[in-house]
């Protein structure tokens, strides 16, 4: 019973902060928050006896008494502070969020592009958001996801009207200043692409503080309408003591296409949960990822694709390079519902382990209830094949050099598929400097 008492106590600081959240104008938003708060109270924090969190120990997050940021603070940041984090491409829309709140001074939105702060959108025409907000996350996810909904203070709202193509990427940049230690932010994002719309959205997380302990508890809902196309890149480069838990839910209509990249660079504990529902015939999803871990990092990528309708195709391809004492976790679940005939779904998780202290847990799952399907999955863990290393050595390279080149090549296979040139270039440089032995 002592254990139970402790658990309730663990939530006290969050519940206290939740009590201080000001109620918003449309009543249904408050109702959403209240329901989520009740759900948060009823759920245990994730622990290792929960199947989805079996390998991911979030005790350090649960133990820390994080104070949640409830309103935008005066951060005094200027564009100069964002060099290397923002892209600064003039044609792009770039939205900057500081400690979870939209910062209009640092942001730039192209005319005609509907992108901005979620709280502004809710204050303005909340009714247009109502059909989407919390629809895909409702009643699912962990206690942390419920906590995000219970706060729901700010985040990004991107909406692309039907038959509109937004050519230039929309970059959502989330900065943690680390001015106060042990703070938590709960960014909440909603991306809606209506019928035949198309867009590229980049969601990136970074920190200005190197050693400060903080917690980002993000949730993103994405609706891809009939025939719409979304390219979605998530980059995670939190600080060395930054904790990041994120839940992303994607809902796809008929003939829509969704292509994502999840690139994890930094963060003490980072978990990306990405769930896609293919809910219309002819929809296709392609989830790609790369995690590069080191130090004592724990990185968890939990992906799932649900084939709810026939004739959909999906692909999950994640790669990992593990070093030092880091720990990586991958789970990929493909679920094919009873009527989802003609499903074509493939999954591959490849891991390269560079040090003898790093550990990897991978769990590719298939759950199939339809018979006319083609589903495969594969997982590998290992080091570069000896033959390849030998090939390099016969050409006069040292073993270390050969391994470096091969590791770079392995990681770059994911990066070079990214079509947004500045993002690809920056990541390629990062991967090259990290692994390649030859100075670029």
């Amino acid at each position: 019973m002592v254990e139970v008492a402790e658990r309730i106590d663990d939530k006290a600081h969050y519940l206290g902060d939740l009590g201080r959240v000001k109620s918003s104008s449309p009543e249904w938003i408050n109702a959403l928050r209240r329901d989520a708060c009740a759900r948060f109270e009823s759920l245990d924090f994730p622990h290792k006896r929960m199947e989805e969190w079996r390998f991911t120990n979030v005790a350090p997050i649960v133990r820390t008494r994080f104070r949640s940021t409830l309103e935008p603070a005066a951060h005094g940041l200027t564009a100069a502070d964002l060099v290397g984090l923002a892209y600064g491409v003039p044609e792009w829309s770039e939205l900057v969020f500081v400690d979870g709140f939209y910062s209009p001074d640092l942001s730039r939105v192209q005319p005609g592009v509907r992108a901005g702060s979620l709280s502004d959108a809710l204050a303005g025409d909340a009714e247009t958001l109502r059909p989407y907000l919390n629809r895909y996350l409702n009643g699912s996810g962990s206690a942390f996801t419920a906590l995000n909904t219970a706060f729901m203070l700010d985040g990004a709202y991107v909406s692309v009207a039907k038959e509109r193509a937004v050519e230039a990427p929309i970059h959502l940049l989330y900065i943690t200043t680390g001015l106060n230690a042990e703070t938590a932010s709960h960014p909440r994002n909603l991306i809606v692409l209506e019928r035949h719309a198309s867009a590229t959205v980049i969601e990136s997380y970074a920190s200005l503080a190197v050693d400060v302990t903080y917690f980002t508890n993000a949730a993103t809902e994405i609706a891809v309408g009939e025939g719409a196309r979304l390219e979605y890149i998530k980059m995670l480069n939190e600080g060395t003591n930054g904790y990041h838990l994120a839940t992303t839910r994607v809902h796809q209509d008929r003939d829509s296409s969704f292509r994502s990249f999840a690139i994890v660079q930094g963060g003490r504990i980072a978990r990306n949960e990405l769930g896609v529902v293919l809910d219309g015939e002819g929809a296709s999803a392609s989830l790609n990822g790369l995690y590069m871990t080191g130090g004592e990092q724990l990185v968890d990528n939990a992906t799932s694709i649900e084939h709810a309708k026939p004739h959909c195709t999906s692909w999950i391809g994640y790669k990992g390079v593990l070093d030092d004492k880091s720990h990586a976790v991958f789970s990929g679940k493909i679920m094919v519902q009873r009527n989802a005939q003609k499903t074509d779904s493939n999954q591959l998780n490849q891991n390269m382990v560079l040090s003898d202290k790093a550990t990897i847990d991978t769990k590719p799952l298939l759950e199939i209830f339809a018979d006319d399907v083609k589903c495969t999955h594969g997982a590998t863990v290992g080091r570069p094949p000896k033959e390849l290393v030998f090939y390099f050595q016969t050409r006069g390279m040292s073993e270390a050099m050969a391994l470096g080149m091969l590791t770079y090549g392995f990681a770059d296979e994911v990066v070079n598929q990214i079509e947004v040139e500045p993002v690809r270039a920056r990541l390629e440089k990062f991967v090259y400097t990290k692994y390649s032995p030859i100075p670029g």
Partner: protein, 506 residues
Amino acid sequence: MSTPPLKVPAETESVKDKDYTGTRVEQSNREIAELANQSYKFGWTTDVESETIDRGLNEDVVRLISSKKEEPEWLLEWRLKAFRHWQTMTEPSWANVTYPAIDYQHQRYYSAPKRAKKPLSSLDEVDKELLETFEKLGIPLEEQKRLSGVAVDAVFDSVSVATTHREILAKKGIVFCSFSEAVKEHPELVRQYLGSVVPATDNFFAALNSAVFSDGSFCFIPKGVKCPMDLSTYFRINAAETGQFERTLIVAEEGASVNYLEGCTAPMRDENQLHAAVVELVALDHATINYSTVQNWYAGDKDGKGGIYNFVTKRGKCAGRNSRISWTQVETGSAITWKYPSCLLIGDNAVGEFYSVAVSNHRQQADTGTKMVHIGKNTRSTIISKTISAGHGNNSYRGQVLVMPKAERARNYTQCDSLLIGDQCGAHTFPYIEVRNNTSNVEHEASTSKISEAQLFYCKQRGIGTEDAISMVINGFCKEVFDHLPMEFAVEATKLLGVSLEGSVG
């Protein structure tokens, strides 16, 4: 009686022989067609007078079972310890199977054919009805069937009824007898190895088995001995409303090797019956154990009424250097299968193998797979799992490959393929790959599909009927696993496949 030369099927080359497999496919096609309208053929009951105890489970029942078997004090203590621990445990719920809650107090935990108190000196003294039963099962119990070259230990309900070929084996120093006899005759061996691989407290069903296990087989192959014939155990549940809890323990000392076969059947009854067995294998330095199972417990009828709940813990310990344990299983029966034959690869260079075909038709549910725990250096494991789901059947592969930090250069290859027949069935794959060592190499591949139209078309184009074509494809799908079965079992397995899929192909 004529005396043709004794056939020694210790090696199974004949199965690997290409010509043989070719004819086997043709033959099995015929058999599948023949069997297409046949239902579970082992569904009869035998009217043998048997001694059962009251329903329910408590310490007195454990004591009663122990005293009926005239067991030594230490074994009773071991059982009681397991029972007390079992009481503190809850039934696992993580498996992908659903069934109504089992009332453990409603089961009978012991049933034995009644017989004279004095031990049987020859097969002639065995109850005629029993012998006929085993004859019907096609088990070569009778001396004349010695020529089939398989030593058999038959377990009827809870008790081992007959063991054949003991003299030949005894000359080599091999002990092959029922578990109860082993407790009496080789208590030191039993005591040394019992629970050394699957501890009494290992899991819910293993603890239950440890408390109430009634009989089973014991096999000990001494140092340097290659077992001259395949050893086989046949398990039969007969009595109604009884559970069967048998325990098998096989020990292969340094350099020893043995092929072991296990078969199981049960009558058709409307109630579900519980079967919770434990199998422990120990392989010391350079020892090899090949363990093959053809599991054909009654699966219940088309609507899922009746059938056996099969909750089995099987684990092998490759304790010595260069030891090898190979599991081959064909799972066609049982309403529910919950079974994960595993290998603990402790010795350096140890090899673990798992070859499995699991079929679930009608309302059958199977959650089966393996665990390969790499502990020693250069340990290798191979997992080939083929699952076939038809009707409303649900089939899950659940496997774990765990590479510990000291398991340098460990190697695993896993392949799981699922075949779906019909649109109401399900196939699921739950692999866990946990690697703690960077010199190891782990590969996992899985696929799920239905029988390819192109393959069927190709066959039909050459004048092969749809049904034959389908059974050909299925046989091909399972061939990799069947190749690892001894010949008799491979034939039986092929036949079983036909029966199990009856009504779903064509």
